[in-house]
Point group: C3
Chain length 357, copies 3
Amino acid sequence: MVRAELEAVVNFNRERPDVYGNAHPKSLLRAIQEDGDHLSKLTNKHVYSADQFDREELLQIFRLAAKYEANPDRFGTSLQGQILISAFYEPSTRTRLSFESAWHRLGGDIMSITDRSTTGLAKGESLADVGEMFNNYGDCVVLRDTNANSVRDMMGALRIPIINAGNGTDEHPTQAFADLYTILKWKPSLIADPGGEKINLCLIGLPSKMRTVRSLLKLVALFPECFSQVTIVNDQQQNEMFDKGQLESLVQSGLNIQTSDNLQKVLPDADVVYINAIAWEGNSFNQYGNQFAINSDSPLKKGAIVLHPLARGAELCRSLDNTAHNWYFAQARGAVFLRQALLTCLVRRAERVLDIV
Amino acid sequence: MVRAELEAVVNFNRERPDVYGNAHPKSLLRAIQEDGDHLSKLTNKHVYSADQFDREELLQIFRLAAKYEANPDRFGTSLQGQILISAFYEPSTRTRLSFESAWHRLGGDIMSITDRSTTGLAKGESLADVGEMFNNYGDCVVLRDTNANSVRDMMGALRIPIINAGNGTDEHPTQAFADLYTILKWKPSLIADPGGEKINLCLIGLPSKMRTVRSLLKLVALFPECFSQVTIVNDQQQNEMFDKGQLESLVQSGLNIQTSDNLQKVLPDADVVYINAIAWEGNSFNQYGNQFAINSDSPLKKGAIVLHPLARGAELCRSLDNTAHNWYFAQARGAVFLRQALLTCLVRRAERVLDIV
Amino acid sequence: MVRAELEAVVNFNRERPDVYGNAHPKSLLRAIQEDGDHLSKLTNKHVYSADQFDREELLQIFRLAAKYEANPDRFGTSLQGQILISAFYEPSTRTRLSFESAWHRLGGDIMSITDRSTTGLAKGESLADVGEMFNNYGDCVVLRDTNANSVRDMMGALRIPIINAGNGTDEHPTQAFADLYTILKWKPSLIADPGGEKINLCLIGLPSKMRTVRSLLKLVALFPECFSQVTIVNDQQQNEMFDKGQLESLVQSGLNIQTSDNLQKVLPDADVVYINAIAWEGNSFNQYGNQFAINSDSPLKKGAIVLHPLARGAELCRSLDNTAHNWYFAQARGAVFLRQALLTCLVRRAERVLDIV
């Protein structure tokens, strides 16, 4: 490379492109009044399923996340002296680094396990015994495993909190929190102005097999008054699309659930488009709905935002990256603060961060 | 899961069950008078074999461990600025996390190597060169390798201390320290009241092949006056049971060594029952003595305690977990403090912790 | 082992042998006047290739490294609050630990990725997306990959600095910095006394295939007045020895480049002998020039120094370790301080270390 070409390649800009979903968390901070009481239950509760959380609890978690995001350098000692056991038996870099970054930024220490074969599980050790071991070594556990029962099996022995970071096809609660946090940051009026504008949510994915979709729908069901409609888009038959009881439960919460296999028809009405193609099954992943891809030519509403839990493949075209629709990078960024909020509460350090203790 | 069932599953208690071996280290602190002089040799000595240590040195290490265990939050900066190289060429989570937790709690930093194939050893680099490299990068090394010579080969080049965390079938000194520490915490009178009650120790395992048993016997041999009898229980012929010279050495120390293949006959007299089934040989492990299992129906003495280095298999039944015999969890918990004591001395930070410097 | 033998084996000395390349960085500190302006470009520039750097910039990096090396315990909070993403997709322990040690010593936090298969890349994620993810999780990236394009592909998306820690056969710039830093520490008069003595450099290796040699030659080309001659020694034909344009570029810089396949003939004139045998190609390594080995019987000049990026094989005999020629250990030691200097500048913390800000 000639010098001039090299200079161009090695120089970089620290500023985010303006279009990258840049709503300041301030507005969400104003929309939710702080009430730490709702966070008190988190001090002795594992984070296993999106089903555990009620609306008020979630709003306080979001408020705390917004507080962290508005003041990213202020709370560098909140988790001082605390040890996180970061156990990713199912390979992941994105979710692992998101949690580890969250924990480091608040001054905590981390021990990582990234290879299931190095653990006692390879020697036939029970997950309950692994849990009892963790009780002696750390203050909080984050666990991801392809085996859907691992988190549950460990939970019974734990005397420190555990976060389910993805158990097979079952759930991924913190991703769902991050997704809804992003939506509310984008449009705080959904909380601040209860009788006001609702949004139309389009979910491209498979609720029966994708843990991110499964968990998100549960949380959306806590805010039915915010959504005019939720359309699930995929190519499966309805009996394959949902788990037993899943659809009924959502409808019962007050949501207007539609399904469709025609993405082009659904997009023009959507305010939020959530897309995912990958589902972890067993020890590998499968891709569903490859034909449901979106790009800068898709018939998106002018102010519509696109979310994706990432990593992405062909379903989310890079041509959308430099458009105002791109809120998937903001989603990843906000997820770190969301996890900070959750972790802080779980290890009983919220009193170092809340205004009113 | 219905909400009520979910709530039951996700709630947890931070308090340890009373029965989990709960003797406060205070009593051991009183039983041993502090004398830091005996720790001075540790400042320029690797921890390779249980053979290196004399009785007074061990008692001071135990006292320091008890001090840490009695004040777990007080010494958070003892190892500030120090870097541990945590090298586990032989897979382990339990021992690795025990050391790493110990180091983190005292404010130190850690670099982990968990995959032998990523090291220069894969390129044919000598362990001496790896040791010289470590001299430049850290302040202390913990090494576990299936190859029994690795620790020794590296030691020759090291100018920082190394702890043998398990070298093949040879030794595992810190586990033995933790085991004896647990026994003395349980019954400090063994030290405080020298002419008083002795204890009957039953060791279910194979001294010739199990490094934990090998190292523990060496330490027990330093305190012959504390043990009325030591019975080794397994199903091997005596010439397979011990290494060359091992039995003679133990007898010479003053211990009353018995062997037996009849566990049910031995148990009723045992005050401490130590059980292990796994021996690492080469790159995998073998199980010995599967028929020597204990459970809540075993004829244990009323106040007998059970120890196991963990991970456990069928040989130590879960039915014992919620009985007063369960001191194996306390053993794992205390091991962290024991390692803190040792590590502190090795990197010359004892003056930050001892009362009399 | 009998006790006496054991004691001999477990005792160690913390003092470095005198012969281990012990020039204090003081002399280099005096030889270069501090001028932080030359470091300002580093605040928004990735470290990709040795081609990016000019002479003045390098000298200031070396001065900062010398400052760190002269005061190793003084700057323990320079990188407080900063997170390093240590991504070694190509296995390495030496370079990874060198960077991680450098970062820890300055008070920063680290997240390590040591297995390419655990990353989203295994799911088909693009390196640009991985880069965007890193933007949200850390403050600086160090990346090594066998694929020569990985660093470049990631750079385009990064808004935090990245250091190329080795991309296939292409470059390894920080190793080259460390190599030249060592030479200048050994003979600061090369800078302090510009018209004075020059040195004769012998490079045993293959510029076309060895990234360490490739990067070093580029830096040497910035100081042609310091070198009377540079002799490249290997057994390849000249058209295999250099990349297209590589030799011309070096000659154009003013260096007197010679080539030879007769090591014994070249050695007696060499002041600095740099030797390397390993080249990474694809996912494995190849050894070149096995017949070019040096040992304590080699016809080295009396005051000649030997450098090797390590890990070494048979090409650098251990018989040289305890001679005054051994500067390869000093090279590894100095590399940590060199990396500290570079990292500090990249994350805009130089103002915490420079005298004149």
